[in-house]
Symmetry: C2
Subunit: 164 residues, 2 copies
DNA sequence: GGTTCCCGGATATTTCTTGTCCGCGTTGTG
DNA sequence: CACAACGCGGACAAGAAATATCCGGGAACC
């Protein structure tokens, strides 16, 4: 079981966006995190398609959160990047081989699939309980209240200096 | 997030093995489920390395559970096949870029990594709660008490007829 | 001793992730 | 209103990982 590392970038980007009311360009977000610009843009597009962020084009364009950070859950971001398909994909092997179960008995998933679905559900619940705002607040506390202020300052500064 | 489909084969194989006190060859397990024999053998080797099943060589060899089915949890099987590394791998991007956090502040994982770890823990807990014996019992109930008996009959029969 | 079967690694094939590119639409400006 | 600049969006290659397969030992049984 593996999670795309783009999830980490997307979560960090959302936390950063929650600190700015103006749109932030993909170039800035990539530079801030030291990651390839073009690839981050691809993931941001996925967030855009999921309705989590809104992209504005043009000279002063960029990305911004569409909803308040407190209403965006981690699960939404994870699913936007990694897809909504569950980790366990049942290939219905019980319908194959010499003891094949007839299809009419396979209407509802079997015990194995049910247990896996329950585990997935527990995973979803844990991620739903945490919002982007929670993350921003927790990161701020971890850094003694300087992290988010630094981000806001850097965003304001880069908007002036870098395009020059 | 994706789970190797070998997990499904391994779980089915364990349930099957729980119905037989004699060792069952990899060839039989593969035939019963209609899956490639060689690849299933590779996964069974992983189960063997994890101590879940014991392989006996020789003419009447095969695989058998080392412990009672009630004491083997789904999580053990999943981790034996899919590995124990967590789904979310933190690449410490906060230590990169213009706002890099110094390493001495990164001793404990940040809020994002903590939330992901909590979700993973919930997933583990759900899988630990279900044993192979539970699965066998549930599958038996789903089939009105015929599935496991059919498996036992097929195993006994194939041991006579097929090698001939 | 012959046979059967499991173990382990080496290897080919396919799929997915990662990474990069340029066209199109949008925005601000003259 | 036409122009030019800018960034988003999806299409396109390279790399990694999973999937699937094969064969040479070694062990147990007959
Ligand atoms: S639903 Fe259950 S029995 Fe059917 S293939 Fe999936 S795990 Fe196997
Ligand atoms: S520990 Fe937190 S801040 Fe550091 S890279 Fe992981 S998610 Fe980002």
């Amino acid at each position: 079981m593996k999670l795309s590392n783009g999830v980490e970038w997307a979560l960090h980007s959302c936390v950063t966006l929650s600190q700015s009311r103006e749109p932030v360009q993909a170039t800035r977000l990539a530079e801030l995190h030291g990651i390839p610009r073009a690839y981050l843009a691809k993931h941001l597009q996925a967030l855009s398609r999921a309705g989590i962020v809104h992209a504005t084009a043009g000279q002063v364009g960029g990305y911004a959160l569409t909803r308040p950070a407190a209403s965006v859950t981690m699960l939404e971001v994870v699913q936007a990047i990694d897809g909504i398909e569950p980790a366990y994909r049942c290939t219905e092997i019980r319908q194959r081989g010499p003891l094949a179960v007839p299809a009419e008995q396979c209407e509802r998933p079997c015990a194995i699939a049910r247990a896996m679905a329950a585990a997935q559900e527990a995973w979803y619940r844990a991620l739903t309980a945490v919002s982007i705002a929670d993350l921003a607040a927790a990161i701020d506390i971890d850094s003694d209240g300087t992290a988010m202020a630094d981000v806001r300052r850097w965003l304001a500064e880069s908007r002036r200096s870098l395009p020059g």
